[in-house]
Symmetry: C2
Subunit: 136 residues, 2 copies
């Protein structure tokens, strides 16, 4: 497990420090998108700015992607294997108004959207809000 995570970092030219491995492991174990705060709480010994920079590092290497779900807390979630964060890799996210969790709906890709003439899509932030299956 740890070897695998270590490789994931090395493959992206990120030095696999203890901190980074812990954060990556934590992200891997989640089935939802987590905020910087969530991670802070999970690792009380770690500093917020270190975690912040770790996330930014992961994000720019496309190991994770961020979602603005409307809570005011940016959320982060692992990218799928082979994800390039390009339009064809995009998926919707679901934010539950009851439990306040945000999930990636990775089964469903965002369809091609008919844009006005000359508009070019590069990224997207798609958040559906409502009630999730557990809270229903």
């Amino acid at each position: 497990m740890n070897k695998k995570l270590e490789h994931k970092l090395k493959d992206n030219s990120i030095k696999p420090t203890a901190m980074r491995l812990l954060v990556l492991k934590f992200l891997t174990e989640q089935n939802k998108a987590v905020s910087l705060q969530d991670i802070e709480l999970a690792f009380e010994r770690a500093d917020k700015s270190t975690l912040f920079r770790t996330l930014k590092t992961f994000e720019s290497s496309k190991i994770i992607h961020s979602i603005e779900d409307g809570t005011g807390h940016l959320k982060y979630a692992l990218c799928l294997e082979g994800c390039n964060c390009s339009p064809i890799d995009l998926h919707y996210h679901f934010h539950c108004n009851v439990c306040k969790e945000t999930f990636c709906l990775t089964e469903l890709n965002v369809p091609t959207i008919e844009l006005p003439k000359n508009f070019e899509m590069q990224q997207a932030n798609m958040v559906i809000k409502g009630i999730c299956g557990t809270c229903k």
Copy 2:
């Protein structure tokens, strides 16, 4: 024009004060979504908190809707006639990475999205990012 705007407010049980009419007029004239700051700059004499509360009032009456476009500034735009901000009223938004403006793509409604079992959609925040026709 002003009479029309006044009615729009009255119809929603909002007292049509001078300030509110000015803000509504301003919003009507935009072809893009604007932030609280944009409005502050447009009305130097007005107080930020008044504008803030005006927007919240408009939003809860579904005269306008807000979009988180990833800039860190919440944007506001007029709802279409008869909009109820329900799933069937939803449209995509486009944020240009060059000019940093955010537009409503009202011509195109958000399609029905296949959600996991028991999930219920109530609202959505859909933002496509890229390059707009003018900046291309």
